[in-house]
């Protein structure tokens, strides 16, 4: 069964296109490296950045090993608190990825359900839901997120907020971007709804919910896949921006954004690595996701023919 599925995948156009596209292969490879490195962070990181007992303030602002004054114990140097930058980046990327993926899952669940209902039922429900989506889209995500998080920080106080930060970030980024999914799904539902198989399903008396989830949804998966990669990249950027503004993850549990923020004031004194290295890690992560998204869009969108 699994072998047959695999054979089907190998024979597909998708795999064929993927094999020929060097950029897509490279992007996919880099994403895999990121995922493996981050989720095995406790195993491969030389230090645990969350453990304050092993941090020595005397080790702060040590440059990377290839620079003068580098310490072989710290591959990429240390940050202002004396944490090993390499370990902190591994853990930080893990937080960024977790927030990005969870936020997009939330977006997808909300957006797909609303899009299905909206497209399938049509009429008043449809125009109401899409009007709400329009209004929500016209506010920029970042703006909404900044305001909501700022208000919550004021309400909860900084200490409680720091403990809840990861949940808040996922909720805010997740809820702010659902219209992207809802619109995409609705558009494909509208075109699928007219086809015979949906009529057939209705004639044999299936419930609308079953028709929506079991029959229509699988046929709308390719546009969902395309926007998902780009949405994860966007979510990671939003998270980094919010953390950079001090509204996201606290410095004690830094994501890439808060790491960049904590190093920013030190670039004037010459300690560029605290900011620039996590910055590069972030840029490469977002870039490969966008490139993979481009590839998926080109392959899965039947309207585009590559010349």
């Amino acid at each position: 069964m699994v072998a047959a599925k695999w054979q089907q995948f190998v024979d597909s156009n998708f795999y064929h296109d993927f094999k020929r596209d060097k950029i897509a292969i490279a992007s996919f490879f880099i994403i895999c490296v990121y995922l493996i490195a981050c989720f095995s962070a406790p195993l491969i990181a030389p230090y645990n950045p969350y453990d304050p007992t092993i941090i020595d303030i005397m080790d702060s602002e040590v440059p990377p090993v290839w620079l003068q004054g580098g310490d072989p114990r710290f591959l990429l140097g240390t940050d202002a608190q004396g944490r090993d930058l390499y370990s902190t980046i591994l853990y930080g990327t893990r937080i960024s990825l977790i927030i990005g993926i969870c936020a997009v899952l939330l977006q997808a669940i909300l957006g797909i359900s609303i899009g299905l209902i909206s497209g399938y039922s049509g009429g008043r429900v449809d125009s109401l839901l899409m009007r709400i989506a329009d209004i929500q889209l016209s506010f920029s995500t970042l703006m909404v997120a900044i305001i909501v998080l700022a208000v919550f920080q004021g309400l909860f106080g900084t200490e409680l907020y720091e403990r809840l930060a990861i949940v808040m970030l996922i909720l805010v980024i997740g809820i702010a971007e659902w219209p992207q999914y809802a619109r995409t799904v609705r558009a494909s539902v509208l075109s699928e709804k007219k086809k015979e198989y949906v009529d057939a399903a209705r004639v044999i008396g299936l419930r609308p919910a079953r028709i929506m989830y079991r029959h229509i949804l699988p046929n709308t998966l390719s546009p969902i896949m395309v926007i998902s990669t780009v949405q994860i990249a966007n979510a990671i950027v939003s998270e980094a921006a919010l953390s950079f503004l001090g509204l996201g993850m606290p410095v004690t549990k830094p994501s890439l954004g808060s790491l960049i923020n904590s190093g920013f004031e030190f670039i004037f004194s010459g300690s560029w690595w605290i900011t620039i290295i996590p910055g590069l890690v972030l840029i490469v992560l977002v870039l490969v996701m966008n490139l993979l998204g481009d590839f998926l869009r080109d392959v899965l969108n039947p309207k585009l023919y590559k010349n």
């Binding site: 016209s138 305001i147 004021g154 920013f264 004037f268 620039i276 977002v286 870039l287």
Partner: protein, 316 residues
């Protein structure tokens, strides 16, 4: 409609964010006196009564007094407005000046090396968050090379009615360069891609083929016939992006310590200066609604097929 929602949200924030009494009186006041003061200030009134009072005051331009600056919040915000608007203006200029020529060039010569380069660069550009562009440009041009200043507005000149501008002095202009580039860096790739895609589509359309068949010069076809219809969707997207641009001023202003509204807003958040936060929300909401209306009107002017009087209408 949108303004109404914003005002309700803003008011609920004010209602819930801390106790205004604590800000005004110290710890030494007894509970009975507090209750009396509450009653006197109308804080025990029902929500809608309080909201109505807030709304009438807001319509007269009174959004409360900033706890930190001890001045009316609207005045504090309006003081900072020119700085932010100049930043947005500079960034939009950069976006318009670069995206239109590059996008059109890439559409006309899709196989030219410059087109491929600019498309590749735009993918990279989209992937770099705006605060990183800002940080890296500071690091390269201010810290390493020492060419350009890294924070503040520099020397400004006052022109009519308290509007200070940095565009008229050399120092002010030097301070504007990096923030404007950083702010435009996020939108520029987006617009280049958008203009290229739209232009490619338009060049395939029937009427452009007909214009070629008529034997018009290529300049005329490209810049008169095709470009006009290319710019229609660009205007709509541009209007929608204004909201995003304002959000990004918060990031840019934070990095460059630009004395504008966004920087002020973040400081207000850190100080829990509620009236200032509310005033910022309302001013930004107002800017937002006004620009969207202008974009709608301009769109109606440029594209006669759009009827402004929609049957449902009245959304913004």
């Amino acid at each position: 409609m949108v303004m109404f929602i914003i005002s309700v949200i803003a008011f609920s924030i004010q209602d819930n964010l801390g106790d205004p009494l604590r800000e005004m009186v110290g710890q030494s006041v007894s509970e009975a006196e507090r209750q009396a003061l509450r009653q006197e200030m109308g804080l025990n009134d029902p929500f809608f009564v309080q909201y109505w009072r807030f709304l009438t005051k807001a319509l007269h331009g009174d959004l409360g007094t900033s706890y930190f600056f001890k001045r009316p919040a609207v005045d504090v915000i309006l003081d900072k407005l020119p700085a932010t608007l100049e930043l947005v203006f500079g960034a939009s200029m950069i976006i318009i000046l670069f995206s239109v020529p590059v996008g059109v060039f890439a559409a006309i010569n899709p196989r030219h090396w410059f087109s491929k380069l600019s498309m590749g660069m735009s993918t990279v550009g989209i992937s770099i968050p705006v605060f990183l562009t800002a940080i890296m440009s500071i690091y390269i041009f201010s810290v390493e090379l020492g060419w350009l200043p890294s924070f503040g507005r520099g020397q400004t000149v006052e022109i009519l009615g308290g509007w200070t501008t940095g565009y008229l002095t050399r120092d002010g202009l030097r301070h504007l360069i990096l923030p404007c580039i950083a702010l435009s860096s996020i939108m520029l790739p987006l617009f280049i891609r958008l203009i290229r895609a739209e232009m490619l589509e338009v060049l395939e359309s029937e009427y452009v083929k007909f214009a070629w068949a008529k034997g018009l010069s290529s300049r005329r076809v490209w810049f008169l016939h095709a470009l006009k219809n290319t710019l229609l969707p660009v205007i709509t997207v541009g209007g929608v992006q204004i909201g995003t641009l304002i959000a990004f001023t918060i990031l840019t202003e934070t990095v460059f310590q630009w004395p504008g509204m966004g920087f002020l807003f973040l400081e207000a958040v850190n100080r829990v200066d509620t009236p200032l936060i509310i005033a910022y929300l309302i001013v930004v909401g107002l800017i937002f609604v006004i620009t969207n209306t202008i974009v709608d009107l301009v769109y109606g002017l440029v594209n006669p097929t759009v009827k402004l009087a929609r049957p449902h209408g009245g959304d913004d």
